[in-house]
């Protein structure tokens, strides 16, 4: 089962580049968008991430950082990110494979990949919105933007 709103987001410590690791707890005090996707290089993932690459300003204006995450290795992420000119980190949920995806309840045991899933996490590390998309469908950015709006308006 995908983790639902008001659940504390499980922390993780994963490679973002070949020599740098990122923890969710590094982002305390900021909102985080976690975008799980099945695989680097596959067509829908690329379109989805290419779309988010264009919307980083809107995410950042709403006080949120975007993290992509899949079971691919840090080296695949590096090549993928350079080729597509992504301006946000891709995390390698690679060893033990899919452990973080399992904790968030969106691991696909049959395919050995993460499902396509989105989480918006607030400044205190609590999941405020989550969405499981059909693997073959690019969920767009509207759900994320609505969730961030709700968080930001709720505070005002």
């Amino acid at each position: 089962m995908i983790l639902t709103p008001n659940t504390p987001a499980p922390d993780f410590d994963l490679y973002a580049t070949p020599d740098q690791r990122l923890k969710l707890s590094d982002f305390k005090g900021k909102k985080v968008i976690l975008s799980f996707y099945p695989a680097d290089w596959s067509p829908v993932c690329s379109d989805q991430l290419a779309l988010y690459n264009e919307t980083l300003n809107m995410f950042r204006n709403a006080g949120a950082e975007l993290l992509g995450i899949s079971v691919d290795s840090k080296w695949s992420h590096l090549a993928f990110s350079q080729e597509r000119k992504f301006h946000f980190p891709l995390l390698a949920d690679f060893e033990p494979k899919g452990e973080v995806a399992k904790q968030y309840g969106i691991y696909n045991n049959d395919g050995g990949e993460a499902h396509r899933a989105l989480f918006v996490i607030d400044e205190k590390g609590i999941i405020q919105w989550s969405y499981l998309s059909p693997d073959g469908i690019n969920p767009g950015a509207d759900g994320i933007l609505d969730a961030l709006d709700q968080l930001n308006n709720g505070k005002n």
């Binding site: 779309l51 264009e54 809107m58 950015a141």
Partner: protein, 172 residues
């Protein structure tokens, strides 16, 4: 089902019949090959059913994937300031494979635009804000790639990169 969050208004570029029962909105990117494929289908649809449709084009440039998408969108908007939006729109799609600042300037000359005015408008913050406004409205409406069509405010899911799949909208 995704809904169009930004209603069609005076600021939009439109073709066809303003009173038509069918309003088709496209979110497009001038450098996206799929939009290039859709371009002649739209023209054919308008040729065949121009009285029955209002067609609206909105900008959805994916700048990192398509380096000339934003400058092309701005060029069409700048031409629009001189009443030649659709002429520029068509010229850009007809020469999609070779878009650059130079070719866009050349198109502006060919359309006999006031070049000083064009250069100024092309770089104006006002038009940049308009294009960014299109993009944000599209995102919030659930546009996840290009082209995305909305028929009377609902995302049109039947389009499958053929004229026939687009024409199906006339039977809805």
């Amino acid at each position: 089902m995704a809904h169009l969050k930004t209603a069609v208004s005076k600021g939009d570029h439109t073709l066809g019949n303003p009173n038509a029962a069918k309003v088709l909105v496209e979110y497009g990117d001038y450098q996206c090959p799929h939009c290039g494929v859709a371009f002649p289908f739209i023209n054919r649809l308008l040729d065949n059913y121009g009285d029955e449709i209002l067609f609206v084009f909105r900008n959805f440039p994916l700048q990192e994937s398509h380096p000339a998408a934003m400058m092309s969108a701005l060029a069409a908007e700048a031409a629009g300031q001189q009443g030649k939006f659709w002429e520029m729109h068509d010229m850009i799609f007809e020469h999609q494979a070779k878009l650059s600042a130079d070719t866009l300037l050349h198109f502006a000359e060919k359309l006999q635009l006031d070049m000083q005015q064009f250069s100024q408008d092309w770089r104006s913050q006002e038009l940049m804000s308009k294009v960014e406004g299109d993009f944000e409205g599209g995102l919030r409406s659930g546009v996840n790639g290009t082209p995305t069509f909305f028929l009377n405010g609902e995302r049109y899911e039947k389009y499958a990169s053929t004229y026939e799949s687009l024409e199906l909208m006339m039977r809805d």
